[in-house]
Amino acid sequence: MTSPSLNALEGHGAGVVSLAGVSVAYGSNVVLTDVSLEFRPGEIVALLGANGAGKSTLIKALSGANPRYSGEIRIGGDAVQLTSPVQARRLGVSAVHQKVADGIVPGLSVAENLTLDDLAQASRRPLRSRGSAFTDARAALETLGLSWSDLVLGSDAAGLAISDAQLVVLARALRGTPQLLILDEPTSALTAAEAERLFEVLRALRAKGLSIIYVSHRFGEIEALADRVVVLRDGRVQSDSARPFEWHGILHDMLGRAAELSHDRGAAQRGHEVVATLDGVTLLPESEPVSLEIRAGEVLGVLGLIGAGKTEIAEALAGLATPLGGSLTLAGAPYFPKRPGHAIDAGVVLVPEDRQRQGILPGWSVQQNVTVPFLRSSSVGGLLTKRLERSRAEDVIDTLSVVTTGPDESIDDLSGGNQQKVVVGRWLSAGPRLALLDEPFRGVDIAARREIGTRLAEIAAGGAAAVVLSSDVDEIFEVADRIVVLVAGRIELDRYADETDRASVIGAFLGAAHPSSPEGAPA
């Protein structure tokens, strides 16, 4: 651990943001204790920590979104009391929060969402013309190197796919050139190519003297981007280190125990018994039919960009949507799940990609969130049995180490990653025959990722099939025995992990999507 505070005395210069003894409590629950840190111009600081360590909480305090913090925050040497997001932005602090949904106003157009802050600015002309909103919106997108058509800019933001919504929120944060830019897991909903573009933008901003706080669970990104790594554990600063990063130590600081950055899964398992098949299924309106065998005893990783058709595969098998064409089989028999209940009864479960919209029952306890798909097996003759419910919930909490006060805590109070663990855990707790996981690692920390990976391997070893659908090459290599690359509804590659290598997978994955792309593989 190196101490950066040697330069602290020089820190009175313009642009330095510092925290001294900052603490935050939710009710009587202290989640951030005595945090002292300094962020200097022209520096990208990675903020790491396990799920529930307090990263988002720190960011909310620093961006004015949660005025109820104690301790001192200084900006450019002046002590300030941050009371609202507007005030923070006026002082040069701009943030992109973890929940994308908290940044998008449905019903307003995409252009209006890109220029949402203007609505709060007294200096702006009160009259809004469509044209000027579009001009401003285009300028905002320009910072990310994007250019969207007027049709898109004029349409309702409610219809934006999550990755595009994330881009909108990012572009908005970059308007008005902040001094300190805070990004809370910005890439969890982006594809590699979009992430790479974002990194270029961030590097350019750093060169211009911005300071940037970057939260991510993807270490590759941090290695490629960060100048410093700050680790939070249980609400305290555990370490603060400069390049070159000593990952072994950082992981230990994060988790409180030794862990490895790279994970060797050993030999890829090969399943034999076919659990489910797609026969000539048309995934996207204009794509050719594909066929795919899903086998018991192996973890299948499906890799593809957003829009490649991954979700369509999952939805067809889970009974959410009927595929455009073709047929399915399960355990050798024709399979027509008309609704999710049929699929669940047949042992096919789906961890959906959008946790907030499709996974969580807001206001409900962790326990009730866990048991909701299994009401029948949690009850005797229709009567819900507390004991059955509780044991299932405790099982999920234990196997995935969910940070919570217990099964009765409201799911709303859990950190994002822990919410995701609850959703993943509940679906795996059923002992499925076929488990489909659509982007299951969004926002979960490395330890949880390992735990989920281990659970998937166990499920496969137990004679069931697991399918992970992801747009992240690292994740796929970490969990999958067999890798399928999907491009625009077509299967571009289908190999066991030990029969191929990253280069050819990435080639199939990106090559087809960007025939002339000069970009290399994402980190």
Partner: protein, 349 residues
Amino acid sequence: MSARNRISASKTSERVAAVVVKWGFVAVTVALILFFVITEPSFRTPENFFGMLKFIAPTAIAGLGVMLAMTVGGIDLSVGASAGFAVSIAAWTMVIGNQVGGVAVSVVLVCGLLIGALNAFLIVVARIPDLLATLTTMFVIVGLKLIIVDGKSISSQMTLSNGTTAPGRFTADFLWLDRGSIGPVPVPVIILVVITVLLWFLLERTRWGRALFAVGANPEAARLAGIRVQWYRTIAYMGCGLLASVAGLLLAARIGQGDVSAGNSLLLDAVAVALVGVSVLGIGRPNAWGTALGAVLIAVMVTGFTMLGLPYYAQDFGKGIVLLIALLFSFTFSRRRTVVTAGSTTSAS
């Protein structure tokens, strides 16, 4: 349990706040009852006690119907109309159709289910937002009722269009619904208690109740969890229609004739009672006991204020103020924001 799990250690102040939120409303009701018991001798008789419950039973039952619609995230503005429809149909069946009470009850209950099914159809299949759909149903049902009875109250001995006198009348078994009692307990009170207990049991103790709430909390997540969302919404609206028609049966038995105006004033009180029910006991979601308790509070206020000799308009004011105090306890002093989902106004698109 994992060592990394957080420990909750709520402070005394938080616990006090929780108690206020949980029992504040009940305390207001009890305080009001005590006040009337002390100041008004006639308030404390058992007759008055059962009389109040009997008087509020139709409102409470209709409120329980609205509560049921609220569990799936909706609302039903047609309950008053459905109850009024039930009154006229019951009278029509017995007085003009010359049927016995049992037949009338069956016809009315079937009509209630059909009205519920109509609401469900408009909301689930035709995808009209619940507030709008049930408002429309309200107009249609009121109009239909008046067309059926030619805008007139149906009473026995009335002269029919063919010049003959109506053959039937409200039968004794039907009137028993209002006038009968088991021991000292009037029948409407028994019906109210039975329905409340059944609904409480259904919602809080069975998996079907849990599924209803899941549909209300996040329909998409519920669907993915294998819950038949559309089916449960249909059930909830049909249940609401059924309960509204039970309320109508009690009203019909009370009035003893097919009063055309019956049920008109039920809607606002039923909705109020269901909404209040959400906040009572700090539960923060639609629930049966809270709804019944809200109804009791209204009954206590109406009776007590009348005994105090307040004119009806001062009662409105009193009702508003007491409601306000109760709500302050439930919401303002509560740490967490209670989510009341009562009706969406915009489409899903």
